[in-house]
Assembly symmetry: C2
Homo-oligomer: 519 residues x 2
Amino acid sequence: MHVNSEFYVLLAVLVAAFSYVASSTCSDSRPNIVLILADDMGWGDLSVYGHPSQEWGRIDQMAAEGMRFTNFYSASSMCSPSRASILTGRVPPRTGVWNANYSSISLFGPMDSTGLPAEELTIAEVLREAGYRTGMVGKWHLGTNQYNSSDGVHLPHHHGFDYVGTSLPFSMTWHCDEHQIHIPKPPPFCFLYRGAELVQQPIDMHHMTESIVEDAVSFIEDNVDRKFFLYLSLTHTHIDLTVTPRFHKSSARGRYGDNVNEMQWVVGTVLDTLQSRHLQENTLVFFVSDNGPDVNICEEGGSPGILRGGKGKTWDGGIRVPAVAYWPCRIQAGHTSKAILSTTDLLPTFAELARKQLPTDITIDGKSMSSVLFDGSATSHEILYFYCADVLMAVRYGNYKIHFRSQSVSPPEYYDDDSTCVNGVPQDFPFLCYDCEGDCVTSHDPPLYFDIENDPGERWPLGENKIPEEVLLRVASLVFEHKKGMVARSAEIGSEPLDPSLQPCCNPPACTCNYPGKI
Amino acid sequence: MHVNSEFYVLLAVLVAAFSYVASSTCSDSRPNIVLILADDMGWGDLSVYGHPSQEWGRIDQMAAEGMRFTNFYSASSMCSPSRASILTGRVPPRTGVWNANYSSISLFGPMDSTGLPAEELTIAEVLREAGYRTGMVGKWHLGTNQYNSSDGVHLPHHHGFDYVGTSLPFSMTWHCDEHQIHIPKPPPFCFLYRGAELVQQPIDMHHMTESIVEDAVSFIEDNVDRKFFLYLSLTHTHIDLTVTPRFHKSSARGRYGDNVNEMQWVVGTVLDTLQSRHLQENTLVFFVSDNGPDVNICEEGGSPGILRGGKGKTWDGGIRVPAVAYWPCRIQAGHTSKAILSTTDLLPTFAELARKQLPTDITIDGKSMSSVLFDGSATSHEILYFYCADVLMAVRYGNYKIHFRSQSVSPPEYYDDDSTCVNGVPQDFPFLCYDCEGDCVTSHDPPLYFDIENDPGERWPLGENKIPEEVLLRVASLVFEHKKGMVARSAEIGSEPLDPSLQPCCNPPACTCNYPGKI
């Protein structure tokens, strides 16, 4: 078919006009913000991050149409401290969300009387102060009760969230599975809240995600006419990996892949809602995982890609996480950013977008990444600090990863040990060296240096004589200043004995209930 | 800005019209074909395949705008047999390109009198017969001389190539480096040809790639008015990793990353040439690696991602390769295909596109993948067979990878052994178990089964009792029929003693030359 050149000229003019119209719909007003958190998903678990088997989905597509990060770090390799750092922009010792015993797991359990300290300023509080409507749906894991089994002192509505939908004050665990792969009967700590109320115990795993999605969508739809912040904290891809029936066997990769596919659907549903409500032009959607994958649990754990180690370690497999920013109006499509960033940057970034000054009397470790997001800058943190409890384990400085202490890593090859994994399930719950000190932790003096860009698997340590002297001096100076300026809160985890009377129980003594009208 | 709805209606009409025009420029005529081969590049080496450090480049962009494959297999884990299979569509035993000793490296050296048998039908011969102009630039590695040091009996112009530009009849090796990282002085087997003529010995590594690119571009420009097939066989990312000066230190990843960046530039230059000559609408560009990365050579080898093993092994790390198809007119942008395909499929695919019937008296193992490329079909091979010499080592059948024999794999962690890699360079040339039988090879009876989609790292073998009986029976039956139908040529490699008089030497006895006018 022959088309004359006038046609193209006309078309070009109109396309230019359309571009102008399109860009002009990207107003300068403050955006809505949707923060979507994955749980224990590894750096290498998504197709867009190179997993060979995982199906392509909406998060991958979000990355293709947005910005994908390759050097994005979580401030912690474990759930509770990581989430505290996300919400406060501060490294774990400052937040108090760390374990007093240095030797156990930094997680708030349902028998703990503690939680994220009320004094800690959260993203939700900052944005609410800026006039945003704030909502939270999904996994909380920053404390439940303080004095009795239902006071909910530590729940999200006490930390700046106007709306709290279907939520898990604690966490998803493999004990909660209903197909009895792990244990015959769910224990009482599998419970679901809606707002401040316990509505289901144990959790109906096959419909939990639908409830979470419904509430996320409702929150958006209820707030189309005002600015909002939604913290959608998914249970994916933490065990036990149960999915709504439509995603059962949806993945060639098996149960873990089914779970990723369900998560992709959740994200897609949120994106579709934003689009159908014409909110896409003015909403930043940020997707990130809270920490690395649990590599000790056979097929039930995710993949760190070629990174070393996983959850609970300060090797990159435990702390470097997949992260995607999506805002078609403002963020360049298909860009892969190598900027060195941290989950602590979310709070200052969101505050800047909401044009809200942060108080100057609080130390915020993060900094706004707006120049990276909107100007394609590669501006990185000069240094990032990685803790286990209040112990500085390692830093990332430019191309260097420097370990002062490191945890042992279980070997990646289970091949010679068939008994470790049976039907893809580990034979006991392998908390393998989540410690900050002790037998499985090695102190390095001099520190252990890696060129992490050249050697992302942290396989070949460099002798100290290979590191330029100015690097050694600068790191020593930064670490010295950092330690000097560190005012740690006392540890909220492990400092008090567990108190069974705090454990939520909807219908004592049975502790079983299901209130469909309330879910 | 307010825009009335008529504007959008008009725009929609025009966009629709434009789409029609655009698609109509994708004529039904037979396309040009450019096949770009990487050398020893691993599944996990590109940013688009999930490498954490590697810079994004034109191949990644090609994938984003084309089709990326996740289950694309090479017919062999070593250079010469792999290339023979690519060019003939046949598995190695049929081509004769395998080692008679089962215990050495299946590569044609410059003292071998043998090469790809003249009787083997190549892509170039098929396409030349179909009226295409056929050109080859880069690494050949399918034989050089037969009777003396300059007869060139096995060179590409005897296998269907009308034009042969700057080329390496043998291979790039680490002995050819000029920065003396490995050895002080290049040996005589580092030589460059142009056409049938030896033009440089040793190779001027810093300018070799520029010569290859110039010839590839010239070939395209010389053939804008006719159909052409270009086989651009790159030296990237094989050691020794020397690059043209502009790519020196271009990558945060180091020398390997520099080499990938240079390769991206080569591919980009070819794509730009196609575009500037208005050939893009009617050219299929296919990029693929010949086999997996050499994981034994420290920082000088590539990454298989999370796959197990590398070059020389029939673990997936040795045979599953990155592959991208690009033809914006016909291939859907941004599609990731999980179809199980093979390098042997290239010949039948290209023949179909050129509308050339293949002879029926030759067994072609590949089949056309046109339905995958153009219809988004996931049509896969029911089974793929992987050989070492003429020994059937393993098969891929649906989600299963089944090993009859497997080679030992060196451990991925060198951490405790600093002496293995010094400055990123291995301390001896570690051909670690490239064998088909012997001490480092394990026979499996019953075979070793993996659910390769669930467990792409081949970590957790499944007991035979976990495999559905119909799978066991079907695989047994297919393998039986395959073996029955296998007519292997006698081995071309290792069957004759090496003959030093065959080694090319441009200027005896010095064997050094550099004829700039001819390069």
